[in-house]
Symmetry: C2
Subunit: 292 residues, 2 copies
């Protein structure tokens, strides 16, 4: 996705959010704001990818803060809260006529746990109140049948994860996917380096993803979504060989929509107008959208 | 008020809003974003007044756009819509035990018509649906009795207006004020030069304010709220002689809260956390707050 005008204030809002998470030092926070505004003035270009600009701006913020992981605490809490919701999710999946689809919806609803942006719950606890209701509300855009057809003819599938918290539900999704399609070779892709509230190898291991996927790879670097200029060789190969790519969340859409990787399916909560308009979906819905 | 971190993305959001109002030229809008980000990087200083920084950033945006009044159409529509609500307002005032207080509430609710910021209605038409309900909801913070005591001992009162649209209700407020306190010399202050959706001398004249106030002055210059370094002599004198200053809206608070002018009363809808926290009020309420 090309950066939209509205991405600029949204990105700054998030930078301020992460500076607040990282430090109480007012001078340091001022420095972060001044430096990132200056960088945005230099980088802003309507022909540039939003994820790529965001990566550079967050890199500068992290470096200025001297903090490798401003979202550390939030990530831990998100995983804990999501884990406390697993029994509800399991119940919904068990009682569903389409367990895989329901696990996907759980995972999309988990995508509401996102921080420092509009349309998401800034406090992880908020998900506790709305989880079951949101899952029962289901999909506002539903390409599940298309997705199932693609899965039927796929041998190698990649799942690009997004935030901590929702990644707990991604594990249920992976399990259901392997249950429904045992012959698929399923590769999980997490972030190579801590960025925002995204899941990393540490999360994948501690959550026991090795029980439900065939392989775990990382994006290899510090990037909002994926930086295709810095792909580790294994991931590059996996992308070439994939019969289907499943992307969780908005940042992966921002990055992948600038590439030709297909078929691809986006599982997301549409939390901002920029992305909703770009992907052609209404705002604030749960969506499964396939591009073949 | 000192600028808060959250003012930075909010200000940029408004700059983008006014650029969108002004032109469809993408290159020009890009230029506005890059230049204002750069200026914000230079100006941002937690010890600076938010209104003063906003003035400079909007000045740059207007100059870059080559547009003296990007809000022209919105201002006209706002006045028209507010005028269509006058019969409802008059009815509420007529049936009220405290007509002056009710006229103040109408004027505060009119303050919901504000553009390009959160907590306000970006479309003037939205006020049509919520006006009577919002007036009936009344005040979330109520210093009206204190204000009445101040009015009782005041000879000269200044009313600093805010946006078009709400200024229509300010006229009813002025009329009720003069009805209740006929001996008060009431001075209306409008903006000296078009800025944002604020009312100017042109609005004051076309709305017939001469019928309800003793004098109309202007802030004399391009400024969010008031620029106290560029006060016209008449206004400077009026401020010195005033027994009470009535300020409509948030920008006037941002400017006046950095001065010692007292007693002062703010009539506002608290539309953002920065100002709500600064003035010590909850978010999204109608408020009359006196500082003596």
């Amino acid at each position: 996705m090309k950066i939209q005008t509205e991405c600029v204030p949204c990105l700054l809002k998030r930078i301020i959010f992460e500076a607040d998470q990282s430090t109480k030092d007012k001078e340091l926070r001022t420095k972060v704001i001044k430096k990132t505004c200056k960088l945005l003035a230099e980088l802003y270009d309507p022909n540039a990818c939003s994820a790529s600009i965001a990566t550079k701006v967050h890199r500068l913020a992290y470096d200025t803060l001297g903090d490798k992981d401003p979202y550390k605490d939030l990530k831990d809490i998100s995983n804990k809260i999501a884990q406390s919701l697993v029994p509800s999710a399991e119940e919904l999946i068990k009682n569903s006529k389409e367990p895989l689809k329901t696990s996907m919806i759980c995972s999309i609803v988990g995508n509401l746990m996102d921080y420092g942006i509009e349309g998401a719950s800034n406090k992880p606890e908020l998900l506790l109140d709305i989880f079951s209701k949101s899952v029962k509300k289901g999909l506002g855009y539903d390409d599940y049948d298309k997705l199932k057809k693609l899965l039927l003819k796929s041998k190698r599938v990649l799942l690009f994860t997004d935030n901590c918290g929702e990644v707990v539900f991604d594990k249920l999704l992976c399990r259901e996917l392997k249950k429904a399609f045992p012959d698929i070779y399923l590769t999980l892709v997490v972030k190579g380096i801590d960025i925002l509230s995204d899941a990393t190898m540490e999360d994948a291991i501690s959550l026991g993803f090795d029980e439900v996927v065939d392989e775990i790879l990382t994006t290899g670097c510090f990037a909002v979504g994926v930086d295709f200029n810095k792909l580790p060789k294994e991931l590059e190969k996996a992308l070439e060989e994939a019969d289907l790519i499943i992307c969780k969340g908005m940042a992966n859409y921002e990055a992948f929509s600038e590439t030709n990787y297909k078929p691809i399916v986006y599982l997301m909560r549409t939390k901002c107008t920029a992305i909703a308009n770009s992907i052609g979906l209404p705002l604030d819905i749960n969506a499964i959208k396939v591009f073949e």
